[in-house]
Symmetry: C2
Subunit: 346 residues, 2 copies
C-alpha cells in the first residue's frame, strides 16, 4: 500500500496525493476530496521512513533515561511526551542503564531522531552521535543546552531549616558521585553549614534503593553512625530509613529528623509526614522537549542553561508539628500545632 496505489485509485499523480496529505492549499477541493476518499478506502498509511528520507527530518525526539523507577522519571517522560506531541513530534525512549549494550541502543536511537535529550552519566556516548543535544540534570557543559533544577539552593534551605530546629549533628545520605544533582544537593548541605560557621560531615554513601536505606538505618541503630538529623538524597531512601528507625523504637523526629527529596506520593501518607523538596519535574521534561525542538528547527539561538525552581515541603519528619490529621494533603501543611499525629495499627 503506497502512495502510487492511492494516486491510481484517485486518478491523479502521486505529487497531488502528497500535496493533499501535507495539506497544501493549492489543490482543488474536488481533487482533494477524491484523494481523501482513496486514502480512506485503501486504508493508506504513509511510510514514515520514506517521508523522513525525503524531508531529511524524523519529526521525532529521543529521550535517554538511566531507569524508570519511582515517579521521577515517569513524570519527566510525561512532560516530555506531552510537549513533543504538542509540537507534533514523535518520542523515542531508551533506557540506558550504566553502559551495558546501552551504547548500541543510543547509537541506534541517533539514526532515527532529530535530537536527543539525555539524563544520565557518560554524556560522551551521546555527544559522539553528533545529534542536537539537551542535557537534563547535568553539570554545565560549554556549548550545550542544560536543564536542571535548583538543587543547591533547595538543599541549602532544607538544611538550614534543620539547623534552625536546633539540630547539630546532620548527616547527608546519598552518593554525590552517583549523579550530578546529588552532588549539588550535598553542596547545598555544605553551604548551609558554612552559613553558620559549622563544619559539615562527610556524606554517608548510599545508592538510591530502599534496601540501602535499611542498611543506613541499621548503622544508626547500632550506634555505628550518630546524628540528630538526616538529609537524604531522595525520598525512597528517607522513607526506608524512617520506617526502619520507627520500627526499632526510635522516635522520628524527636530523636532524629529525616528529610528527603522529590515529594513522592508516599511522603504525604506516612506518619510523620516526610519533609522533602519538590521539583517541577514535569516542567523539566516539557522544557527539554521544547528546547530540543527549537535546536533542531534552528529557531533556537545559543545553547542556554535553565534552572527551574524547587520548593521545600514542610511536613512532620523535620521536627515541625502540625494538626494531627490523616488526610493526604498534597500541598499545604501550614498549621504548626503542638501535637504530632500518630496513626498506627495495633
Amino acid at each position: 500500500m503506497t502512495i502510487y496505489a492511492v494516486a491510481e485509485r484517485a486518478r491523479v499523480s502521486i505529487a497531488t496525493v502528497s500535496r493533499v496529505l501535507k495539506g497544501s492549499s493549492v489543490v482543488t477541493e474536488s481533487t482533494r476530496q477524491k484523494v481523501l476518499d482513496a486514502v480512506q478506502e485503501l486504508e493508506y498509511t504513509p511510510s514514515g521512513a520514506a517521508r523522513s528520507l525525503a524531508e531529511r527530518r524524523h519529526h521525532t525526539l529521543g529521550l535517554v533515561l538511566p531507569e524508570l523507577g519511582g515517579p521521577y522519571y515517569a513524570e519527566l517522560l510525561a512532560g516530555f511526551e506531552t510537549k513533543a506531541a504538542e509540537l507534533r513530534q514523535g518520542v523515542m525512549l531508551v533506557i540506558a542503564k550504566a553502559e551495558g549494550h546501552g551504547g548500541d541502543a543510543i547509537r541506534a536511537l541517533a539514526t532515527r531522531v532529530d535530537g536527543i535529550a539525555f539524563l544520565g552519566r557518560d554524556v560522551e556516548r551521546v555527544r559522539r552521535s553528533g545529534k542536537k543535544l539537551v542535557l537534563i540534570a547535568a553539570d554545565s557543559l560549554p556549548g550545550v543546552e542544560v536543564i536542571s533544577t535548583e538543587n543547591i539552593a533547595g538543599a541549602r534551605r532544607l538544611t538550614e531549616h534543620l539547623l534552625a530546629h536546633g539540630r547539630t549533628r546532620l548527616l547527608f545520605v546519598g552518593d554525590p558521585d552517583a549523579a550530578h544533582d546529588v552532588r549539588e544537593r550535598y553542596e547545598g548541605f555544605v553551604l548551609a553549614h558554612h552559613d553558620r560557621g559549622l563544619e559539615p560531615a562527610q556524606p554517608v554513601l548510599a545508592p538510591f534503593r530502599e534496601s540501602d536505606g535499611q542498611a543506613v538505618a541499621e548503622r544508626l541503630i547500632a550506634g555505628d553512625l550518630e546524628a540528630d538529623a538526616l538529609v537524604c538524597g531522595n525520598d525512597e531512601l528517607a522513607l526506608a530509613i524512617m520506617a526502619r528507625l520507627l520500627g526499632a523504637g526510635v522516635d522520628v523526629p524527636r530523636d532524629i529528623a529525616v528529610v528527603g527529596w522529590d515529594d513522592v506520593m508516599t511522603a504525604r501518607y506516612v506518619r510523620p509526614g516526610l519533609t522533602t523538596v519538590r521539583q517541577p519535574v514535569r516542567d523539566v521534561g516539557a522544557l527539554a522537549a521544547d528546547r530540543l525542538f527549537h535546536l533542531v528547527t534552528g529557531s533556537a539561538k545559543a545553547p542556554e542553561r535553565h534552572v527551574l525552581p524547587t520548593e521545600v515541603v514542610i511536613r512532620g519528619s523535620c521536627g515541625c508539628t502540625r494538626t494531627p490529621s490523616a488526610d493526604p494533603e498534597p500541598d499545604l501543611y501550614p498549621i504548626p500545632t503542638p501535637h504530632p499525629s500518630k496513626v498506627r495499627s495495633r
Copy 2:
C-alpha cells in the same frame, strides 16, 4: 555525512560499507578495518530513515498508553522497553488521553513503527492503522493478540478473603465502565458473593484519582454510604479513602476494612499496611513487546490470549493482624491463597 562519504574515505564501494555496518561476514578483515576507521573519523551516523526504507522495516515498536500516572504504566513501559532493547528494537511512545488529537499522534505513530501495543479505550483508532497489534489489559477480540492479568480470579479471592473475615456489607469502589480490567475486578467481586449465595452491591462509581477517594470517604463518614469493607479499584483510591477515614477517627480495619489493587510503594508504608493485589506488570510489558516482535517478524503463529497471574498481598487493612513492624517489607508476606495461579493461554 552519508554512506558515500564513508565509502570514498575508505576507498571502497558503498556496498562494502553497508556490509561492514551490517556485520556481514564476507568482508575481508583488512577492508573491514578501513571502513570502520573511516566511520570513526567521520563520526558517521547512518540514516535510520533510509535504512528503514530499504529494508522495509522500522525496527521500532510503538506503545500507546492512556497516561503515565502512578507506578503501573511506568513499570509496564520499563518492561516493554527492556524487552524491545533485548530484541534490538526501538520504542516509540505515545500517550493518548481520551481522544483529543491523540488520533493524530497514533496515526503518525503508525507511519514509523512495525507494530503497536495498545492500552486504552477505543481500540478502533489503532486497528485502522492496519499495523500489527497487541492489546494490553483489554477484552478479548477475535483475531487479536491480548495480554491481560488474572483480574477476575484475583478480585474473587480478595473479596472472598474479606467475606471470610466475617464482613457482610462490602462495597466495590471504582467504575467498571472506565476500563476493562476494572470491569473484571468487579466481576470477581460479584462472583465471590455468589459463591456464598450473597447479593453483591452495585459499584460505587469513582474515577481513579486520590481526590475521588476523598469524596467517597466523605460519603461514608456522613452515613450516606454504609459498609464494613471496601474493595477499591486501585491503591490510590484505597489509600486516599483510608487516610480520610483514619483522619475522621474511623478505625480501619476494625470498623471498616479497605483493600486496593496494584501494590504501590505506599501500600507497604502506611499503617495499617494496605492489603492489595499485585500484578506482574513488568512482565506484561515485556510480553507485549515480545509478542509484538514475533507478530512483526512473522515468527508468531496465530494470535493468542495471555493471562498473567495475580497475587493477593495480605497486610493489615483487611483485618488480618500481624507483627507490628515499621519495616517496609517489599516482598514477602505469607499469602493464604487457596488456588495457585498460573499463566494461561488459549
